[in-house]
């Protein structure tokens, strides 16, 4: 997805990596097939990076959704990222941009209303996908400390919404009756998919080392968002949902249901001050607009 955006400015030479060759491949993109989970991936990647004289690496090889195969996911998210870091260091890359997520802060009842980048990462302990990402962030911090010559940026976007973006989160909000937790109505933030790509582009252009939170402007309570979308809620008492939802949730993602539903229960709104000040990030879509663009696109899709 980021490749599409990077094609537009037509400035740098692009090198793409993936597990499989994408169906549509732009001629300007030089493509290499790399499996990050292979033991030799780091040296292989370093070789290619060196040969292509790469300047910056954008590492976005993560699963969008939690996978039931926890070991496989861990292998890619943590070990694979480690391979990318090692390869980047060996090839003398100047910059590394990693797409993480704001979910690593974790939804906690004692979160401050706006989480800054310095807040500790307190992901729900049994949510393996988020835990892996948090572990990766830890490794990234160590890596950045060890290689001061490389500018290491990790982007932490909140939930992404938009006409094209699909994840387990958007699937949850697609249904006409959205499951919510009875009596909980946290303030939510969304980021539009195009704003995310803008931010990635900015992060590649400018040197802003360290983690950066990304979100659209404004916050809205979950219930207001659902009402704006013309949907209805399906409020469940949380102890019941956490028990009943256990089996389907484990079957689908390998995580207990609270790994997802806690994000609809407690506050995890991020402070985007740093992105605005240092990265110069100006989201085109507010939270409400990102949400509405998601809702409108899904509604039209039904009539095509």
């Amino acid at each position: 997805m980021a490749q599409r955006l990077l094609d537009a400015p037509a400035a740098p030479r692009l090198v793409g990596f993936d597990l499989s060759v994408p169906r549509s491949l732009d001629g300007r993109l030089r493509f290499h097939r790399v499996d990050l989970t292979e033991p030799t991936a780091d040296s292989m990647l370093a070789e290619i990076l060196d040969k292509e004289r790469c300047d910056a690496v954008l590492h976005a090889a993560f699963f969008t959704d939690p996978r039931p195969q926890q070991e496989c996911a861990h292998e890619l998210e943590v070990i694979g990222s480690l391979n990318v870091m090692n390869a980047a260091a060996a090839a003398g890359v100047r910059k590394l941009v990693v797409t993480s997520t704001a979910q690593v802060y974790g939804p906690q009842p004692d979160n401050p209303n706006f989480l800054t980048e310095s807040h500790p990462l307190r992901a729900p302990p049994r949510a393996h996908a988020i835990r892996d990402r948090a572990e990766m962030e830890g490794l990234l911090g160590v890596f950045a400390g060890r290689h001061p010559e490389i500018s290491v940026t990790s982007l932490r976007p909140c939930w992404v919404m938009g006409p094209n973006y699909a994840s387990s989160v958007t699937r949850h909000f697609e249904s006409a009756r959205v499951t919510t937790l009875l009596g909980f109505d946290p303030l939510m933030q969304f980021l539009h998919e195009e704003d995310l790509l803008d931010a990635v582009e900015l992060a590649l252009e400018r040197d802003v080392p360290g983690p950066i939170n990304l979100a659209g402007d404004g916050v809205l309570p979950l219930s207001t968002l659902i009402r704006l979308a013309g949907k209805r809620t399906w409020p469940w008492p949380h102890p019941l949902l956490y028990r009943l939802g256990y089996l389907p949730a484990v079957g689908r993602t390998g995580d207990p249901p609270e790994a997802f539903y806690d994000y609809l229960r407690f506050l995890w709104v991020v402070d985007t001050d740093r992105a605005k000040r240092e990265l110069g990030f100006r989201p085109d879509y507010t939270t409400k607009e990102a949400w509405m663009s998601f809702v409108v696109s899904r509604r039209l899709r039904r009539y095509r």
Partner: protein
Amino acid sequence: MNETVTGAENGGLSREQLTELRESLAELRTEIETRFSVRRDGRESGRVRPDLLSRGLRAGLDKLGVSGAYSGLRRMLSAYSTDQRSLEVDEFGLDPFYLERARVLLDFLYDRWWRVKVAGAENLPAEGRVLFVANRSGVLPYDGLMIAHAVERSHPSHQRPRFLAADWIGTLPFSQPLLARLGGVRACPENAERLLRGGHWVVTFPEGQKGALKPFRERYRLQRFARGGFVSLALRLDATIVPVGVVGAEEVHPVLFHPTLPRRLLGFPLPVTPTFPLAGPLGLVPLPSQWRIRFGQPLRADDLMRGRANDALYVNQVRDEIRNTIQSLLEEEVHRRSSVFRS
């Protein structure tokens, strides 16, 4: 592939369309405002002018009292369930429309139920950053709501301060969204700092839970002021500290004792009051004690040594001074009050 094509193809909006849409929406809004002469500047002022219905209700409340509060309560509950609230909230979740609806109930509690008397309103600073420091009492955060109400009514600018509330509120269903819409914010230094920087006035209770859950026999005896974080915050941000003594809130839910077992099982405190577990949900009705809210002499940041925000000993010294001030405010007001319940 460019973004315009993607947007149109998938039913989303491209950037040009978005700006167009925004402009036409702004036009529409001004049109509505001029034609129906309604202004709802929730974002700027945090206040909505009461509509006719609520004004009528308030007139009814003056005559009927309890029935007005009943309808207020019903309106508040219906607002909660049927989503009759504004589509914009401020960044801490305050919903101006919702607050306006709840005002009927808050006014009733303030005027009729607790008959709040305010003293020392002349001590309120005219402007600038203000941090109210008050004694915490009465299990549920009624005191924060009433202080906010008192300041809003007695200050010429009608600014409504935000109050900080305990953590465990957030783990309970219903209470957290309710409190957020009425202007409550979880108590932590980050939130207080952001609120003050954002131009809000803040009410803080340095006693914390220890104050809210202390047994009845220790009423009006201030507990420890934990870390004095509010002092260093005020020093850093140049905020004026206003000590506040609240008398009456301690009798709202007199805590007989506070067992630890339910707390460990449930994760939130469950104190025993004369009415609470015994009378069931009715026990949640606060007792109609008589309240006095007294604002003490403000402590301006100029009077303090600003550079010493990181000097723990100095901060603790100021903290204890403020604690003593509030304690003496409380003692004076308790003596001044002739009866707990009768006015």
